[in-house]
Symmetry: C2
Subunit: 724 residues, 2 copies
């Protein structure tokens, strides 16, 4: 048997496998031909815009980080305090770095993909996918590395784990750091969640701010360009066109990356903390090792993604995703059987009375991992069924266009609402089966731990899921660049086919991101209950404080969504006014006179300012509300978290799928059905698409962050919430 | 002191005051001049259509009633059984009768209001309001009478209550009926809820079926009449015009009446059952007497409603509503102080250990009644603020019309979402304050009882609230009849001013109906927990079954809404095809040739069939889901009810206010703002209005019924749910 230190070193090694592969792909992408001078110029504009946004955003975040870190150090001094502050900053810096690296490569892969498309589809697919894989593998690699480092530094440096097998927390051991003594057993539940909060802080800004940015730019560019000035999409005469392309990267690459980084870290951190309580050190180790195994399998599976001349590019991507899943499952089976063989005994290290737990059927834990992974894929597929024009929901919305925009809207809203049923059923099955399997694996305690395992099971292959998702905006940008650099129809055909696959993968990734947010928040929720002592007494819905919390928690996702939708409206308005000003003041811009260029940077700037300004109120409420509820009553906060989790999940699915369905109904008509482009039916579906934009790209994805951030805040600040 | 029998007789007497006033108004309305021959003919068409719908609906309901009654008798034989079946049938028949009477008078008051409008505004207001008051007072009167009769028959006929004060349940007493012995103390919690389920069954059909009917007729008539044939609204050439006017009555009179009848009965029944457990017979009596007092005050307050020449008709209606509220509160103060003076002691009659409760501060119970009534009014007012064009939300939606329909939709959706916050806060305050006040009034047990009292406080003035609401469709119909019978502009001006007030009162009544549904469902929810024994153990959100229930319960309102929205679409389609057929086959109809008339009855028929057919699946699910959940696990059903309550309430507010705001944004533009009728902005707001129709009149109001029906089913079938 290996000792504890060796296992964690293996996890670190696995993270290096991921990061190394990412580095290889990054250099590979940079070595590709960046295309013609015009392509390079456009790509450079996008790069500069994206980095300008990121720079402004990171400066704001830095202030927030420092303030929160100080608050944690001061107010939580009895339970981690400054040590947690450090974990918090490391978590945030790692997430921010992943976003920076991913965005840097993605915005360089775009023109290279366009250029590759002038050669062949497989080549273009390879460039776009490898560009996305840098983001995916960096997100997972840095997440895993960060949590592993917390392990090493906090525990082994102080020799708190030992015993005959090197895998036992020494009873009563304490870690002394900054003159503060922390009981070893509570490090997992008190200190490491700080790392998760760091990830959440970045995600909040990246997803909400990025979501407002991308749709303000998109809607603004469309309304003023297509509608007012009558110039087509992606036309370089439109000064907002670069901001629009920047938005794709900021929202879909950096935003989605930070979102899944947060889920990934949360899905390791929360089960790890719960596992340490029920299964000692091995329980903390298992989630980490599942992630490590998934990391390596994801890196291997990126090699499976190869386009074939005349093959469907979507097939290549699926091969990668499913390949990673199968490999991970096989490896996890052996991992569980080796680490927790039947008969393994544990003594719960926390609580007034010590309890002995015995693992009876370890395969039950494997089942939980399996069902989590399967549920993630199933929920993703359900999104696909409601949002792809290969199925009848989207066709029905397009048909509704025959009687005008109102019926398109109603049909889309009904589709989004209906789609919640399938996702909820899959989620419920995953929770039910994993709890049951965990309870069977280890009576008393195994159930809750297993629900956490299903979360990390779902997220183990984050590396390749994010890779496939980040591929989408690269392909989309490549299409935009091929348009702006006046490529021929064969090239456009290739970039279009890559882009259309990107829409499908985006829908699946969205479903997956929502499901992973729900299971992560659920795991944090249980950890919160454990920390405030409610896991024993329960959180009783009949209790007046709890039901009030449930109502207010349920309301907040609605309130937040309304703020996000209005924010897009206001920010788009600012953008429209700037573009109008440029058309008015820059002579020859609208006519496309040679050598005249819009002030692209100004538009990027305005969208950036507006996005950052608009997120102040919703972000503040997201942080403040759970703390206020908790200070009032820890039970009320329990109800609040449950309410926001259920409603946030439902609204996320509803808005993502309604928005996706409208988008594809429009594209279906544009593909020549029901009268095609320019028909009344088309106009009606365009209305649906415009309504869907802030739904699916701003308010919807914000829900993922909302439910995770609020639950991790509850975990971190739990020591303050003593009034049950 | 009066004995128990006398108190109940007083309640019965009060119900006769209400019913007597209703009868007086009914005869008064019928004595008014029914107007010209043409007015009478149109009114007759509407009457016949409404009664045809009601007849068809009641025949379907009769089958359901018999089946459910038999099921109750067979499966619940150990706890009420056939006795409960009888209470169930009585509850349903009383509710059905109220609907029949109210609808009969309302459809006769319409042409009389039109005729009165040829004389003066105050006269027309009086006719319309008194027509509505028949519905309001009948609903409340029959509700109160029914519950009182259950009291008398079940208890006093068997002499189960006695003691020195005549107000004590004799320990161990049993009621023998149909050869079945029922413990006296459980009659309140086991048998009387059957009466509530009867009310709920009618409400389910009236609200959901009526909601589908009214919007199918409205949307169908609009699309084929205004859009295709180019004839104005309320034009007699449109064969769907009568069905449209029937829809107003079926949806807003019968549907809203059945909805509030259900809330009213539930708000008496649930606190009554809970009260009997904590406060013995007096605890059962208090909710009944609050309702009785509110009944008389409502009847008196109807006399305050008098229009003044040049006065604002809305003012007269408000005087009535607020007058009733103030009178009721004053009376309730004395009632509480007299019935439950400080020092009153009770022994809980149920449970393994007997506990003595002592009333310490009876005024706390009064505070709960007060806060319930205030919350109902506040939530109604909040609806008004988000849906009236006197406030900025509606103006902002209209402004958004300048950039097209998409921004109108987004702005309306955001407004609806935002409006949930205010309502939730008022509801939370009411729950928090009433619980706190109740606990202060009587430690241990007083809190939960007081939350129930706040429900009946909110609903005590149901008589006048329904009267004011039912006034709306009468005024609306009167406007339609004055159009169809070609009245002059002065008459139209009067009916328009009455109609516009009706829109405001409808918005307030909608908010009130939602709030009352929530508190009623909450009271049933607690009763359910008590009956399955979960009030003692609690319903723990951390429990896997409970959280799965919470998720599925939260999902169902979304699923139900999607079914309701799609149902309207399909039913409207059937209507459109029928109208097209008539235009095609009936020569001279479209041109309005003298003597040629559409087959109005056919249209009514088609809308009726479609509505009844479309409600089969959602209604079946509403009944079946809670039973299936309960059979799986009583705890899961607890989570399910909480989830559906929170999400159902949120969606109800969201959809009602978004729909109302769109409606008034359109009317605001039609009033001449932002370009007025026919402008692009107007077209954009029309899209919003069309989307809002099934939101505010079908799916939204269905949520009220959904949450009440599911919780009362849980209460009634609780004895089957033994697996905790």
């Amino acid at each position: 048997m290996l000792g504890g230190m060796q296992y964690v070193l293996i996890a670190i090694l696995c993270s290096f496998v991921g990061l190394g592969t990412a580095a290889y792909y990054a250099f590979w992408v940079l070595k590709q031909d960046p295309g013609s001078a015009l392509m390079q110029k456009i790509s450079k504009h996008i790069q500069e815009g994206a980095l300008a946004f990121l720079g402004r955003e990171y400066r704001v975040i830095a202030v927030v980080l420092v303030l929160v870190a100080i608050a944690m150090g001061l107010f939580l001094s009895s339970s981690g305090g400054w040590v947690m502050s450090i974990a918090y900053l490391v978590g945030a810096v790692f997430s921010g770095s992943a976003g920076f690296i991913g965005l840097t490569i993605a915005t360089r892969a775009n023109s290279r993909t366009t250029h590759a498309a002038t050669k062949s589809m497989p080549k273009a697919l390879e460039v776009a996918f490898r560009g996305g894989a840098v983001m995916g593998l960096t997100v997972a690699g840095l997440g895993l590395l960060g949590v592993s480092l917390c392990f090493v530094i906090l525990l082994f440096a102080s020799g708190l784990v030992g015993g005959a097998d090197g895998l036992t927390i020494i009873p009563g051991a304490t870690l002394t750091i900054f003159g503060l003594s922390i009981p070893a057993a509570t490090i997992f539940s008190d200190v490491i969640p700080g790392f998760g909060l760091g990830a959440s802080t970045i995600a909040l800004f990246a997803r909400v701010g990025g979501g407002i940015y991308t749709k303000a730019a998109d809607v603004g560019a469309d309304l003023v360009g297509k509608v007012e000035a009558g110039i087509p999409e992606d036309d370089p005469r439109n000064p907002a066109v670069i901001a629009d392309n920047v938005g794709d990267n900021v929202g879909d690459v950096a935003g989605m990356g930070a979102d899944l980084y947060e889920s990934y870290v949360g899905a390791i951190v929360a089960p790890l903390a719960l596992g340490s309580l029920y299964l000692g050190f091995k329980g903390a180790l298992l989630p980490l090792l599942i992630a490590a195994v998934g990391m390596v399998c994801s890196a291997i599976a990126t090699l499976f993604v190869r386009g074939r001349e005349n093959g469907h590019p979507g097939r290549a991507l699926s091969t990668g995703t499913y390949g990673a899943a199968i490999l991970t499952l096989i490896a996890c089976y052996f991992l569980v059987m080796m680490l927790l063989p039947a008969g393994t005994e544990f003594i719960s290290g926390i609580g007034a009375t010590l309890v002995t737990h015995t693992v009876i059927n370890p395969v039950g834990f494997f089942v939980a991992i399996f069902i989590g992974l399967a549920a993630g894929m199933a929920i993703g597929q359900a999104s696909e069924i409601y949002t792809s024009d290969a199925y009848k929901a989207v066709k029905r919305i397009a048909e509704a266009g025959k009687t005008g925009p109102a019926t398109v809207i109603l049909s889309g809203l009904a589709t989004g609402m209906q789609s919640t049923a399938a996702s909820i059923v899959f989620l419920a099955i995953a929770m039910g089966v994993s709890y049951f399997a965990g309870d069977w694996a280890m009576p008393a305690g195994g159930g809750i731990f297993a629900v956490g395992l299903s979360a990390i099971g779902m997220l183990a292959t984050t590396g390749i899921v994010v890779a496939v998702d980040a591929y989408g905006p690269i392909a989309d940008n490549a299409g935009g660049i091929s348009e702006m650099s006046h490529q021929g129809p064969e090239v456009r055909a290739i970039t279009d086919s890559l882009d259309s696959v990107g829409n499908t993968t985006a829908a699946i990734a969205k479903g997956f991101a929502i499901a992973s947010a729900a299971v992560t928040a659920l795991a944090y929720f249980q950890l919160y209950a454990e920390k405030v002592g409610l896991l024993k007494t329960g959180i009783n819905i009949l209790d007046n404080n709890v039901i009030i919390g449930l109502f207010i928690g349920g309301m907040f996702p609605f309130l937040f969504s309304s703020m996000a939708i209005n924010a897009v409206g206001r920010a788009a308005q600012a953008m429209i006014e700037e573009v109008r000003r440029q058309f008015r003041e820059i002579v020859g811009l609208r006519e496309g006179r040679e050598g005249v260029e819009g002030e692209y940077g100004k538009c990027v700037d305005i969208a950036t300012s507006a996005a950052l300004k608009e997120m102040v109120l919703p972000a503040t409420l997201t942080v403040a509300l759970p703390i206020l509820m908790g200070l009032w009553s820890a039970r009320a906060l329990g109800g609040f978290l449950a309410g926001s989790l259920v409603v946030g999940f439902l609204l996320a699915i509803f808005m993502a799928n309604a928005g996706g369905a409208w988008d594809n109904a429009k594209k279906y008509v544009e593909g020549g059905e029901l009268g095609g482009k320019g028909s009344d039916t088309h106009h009606a579906t365009v209305v649906g698409d415009t309504v869907g934009d802030p739904f699916k790209d701003t308010a919807g994805p914000s829900m993922n962050i909302l439910i995770k951030v609020m639950s991790v805040i509850a975990v971190v600040f739990a020591p303050l919430f003593t009034r049950l």
